[in-house]
Symmetry: C2
Subunit: 334 residues, 2 copies
Amino acid sequence: MGKIGKQTVILKNKPNIISSYSIVGPKEGKGPMSAYFDKIMPDDMCGQNTYEKAEQKFMEKAVFGAIDKAKMRPQDIDMFLSGDLLNQIISASFTAREFDTTFIGLFGACSTMTESLAIGSCLVDGGYVDNVLCATCSHFASAERQFRYPLELGTQRPPTAQWTVTGAGATILECTGKGPYIEAVTFGKVSDYGITDVNNMGAAMAPSALHTLKAHFIDMKRTPEDYDLIFTGDLGKLGSEILIDLLEKEGYKLGVNYNDCGCLIFDKEQKTFMGGSGCGCSASVLNSYVITKLLNKEVKSVLFLSTGALLSPLSSQQGLSIPGIAHAISIRSD
Amino acid sequence: MGKIGKQTVILKNKPNIISSYSIVGPKEGKGPMSAYFDKIMPDDMCGQNTYEKAEQKFMEKAVFGAIDKAKMRPQDIDMFLSGDLLNQIISASFTAREFDTTFIGLFGACSTMTESLAIGSCLVDGGYVDNVLCATCSHFASAERQFRYPLELGTQRPPTAQWTVTGAGATILECTGKGPYIEAVTFGKVSDYGITDVNNMGAAMAPSALHTLKAHFIDMKRTPEDYDLIFTGDLGKLGSEILIDLLEKEGYKLGVNYNDCGCLIFDKEQKTFMGGSGCGCSASVLNSYVITKLLNKEVKSVLFLSTGALLSPLSSQQGLSIPGIAHAISIRSD
């Protein structure tokens, strides 16, 4: 128990997922995951007057949704671990302002959901906090104008582009209960294969997904077949094909038990090209579809890995390439 | 042992500070802390062609400086916990790219030094990682152009302004050795008293320093007199005066054992108005002056608290106020 291998920790006190909540915008609500989300907003502005304020509303609704679902009060939450894509993670910080709990701000780009769960589950497992609320969010319009172009410009999207999910997800962990629990976490390292195209995030993130998955399989002495389901965060269609190829070269075969949240959340008719992305992508799919499958005992073991592209518009403007990172969590429902 | 009170954790395995390293720019090198820094760079561009690349160089030099000082190799580091002020914490992420270790990206603005040490010491204490390297940095010129105005504009600075420190600090923690160790951490909550002036960070952060200090004293059943020295991160002159007043109203008196890193790092002749600020301020003072005093046994107990203003230029432009946060660590040298 505790640390095994190089990057993995087995959690001896089984941090339970005592609550999870997902909320998405109207476009995501029309996609294949529709039936699983807790809430689909009819208006992606959430009644706010800026995209960024709307994004924060999604986060707030996810956080308070998870608290309500657990029949807890906001003051019962011991620690809030959160981050998002916006500069200085304002969606997370301004949500933390809304309730009286300790706050750890994180930045792992689209890997933030599993980053928060990986750190949160260690802190709960070790008795350093009684429970943690882990959450993240993203918004298509705020991400486009921050990372690429303002929507008003009507810029054409290249075929390798992904569509930032408008949505949020929140999970509460506590070492009590009999729900699905986090068995192990594998912390990721930063990889950089020299991709400089901000419209090809999948390719930038695939190597980090490879490294974390490989580290997980080696540390746990397992293979992909040992899991009922394996999910990557938001590599999208191109990125997940690259990952399958890269893993095959390393001797691991991802089979029909593998899928990518970016590929699951939209269907082809929705014209998102390579699929979904953004912190809200893996957050909303994990806290709806994946956890429902575990709760219903349709599956017993899930390996879940969110991937992040650690770029900034500024680093791109200064000609730097895009580093990637991915953290994995193994969830079981015995 | 473990969690005591509402926000505090006592670390039973005494995470030791096995190495610390500080590096600053030429202006900081001329200040009162001069003799304590490991390295003073003669050129604040560090041989780079942009301010942001220079900032990352400071971080890199601090990180590898701490590793060298510990007589370790980069691959001996188990986890790197880091963040900075730049959008998408690129100084931290791009430094993480330079060595083969797991990475947790954090954002706590100028509270990042104690945020990383608070999380890092729990992870080391619980045996989830063998050791952690915690680091952060800031750069005057990159911060000015991101948060306020490009230096080229020559904008006049108001008297409440602070001067972002060009520098970085890094600390390695491991549960072995006989050096100063982290006895306890108090995690902070987000406070917002409605300050909207981006040139008055001290006032925005003072309430969060108050809350974390008060929580620490209550949880630990201590008073300010129980510490040889108490430091706040970078409230600056105005902010620390506000803190002294606020604490007095709560029945706690900060005496001559109290100081603020922002007040310590520059002297009056350096015309920084309210003093230093930025992630690099508390990071460089902690990893030089403070740890030296503990190592030399001049003092035995230090309460150290970095404070962060969680604003973004975007949230300010949209009329939102500035939330603050502060995390505290208690360091002992028995």
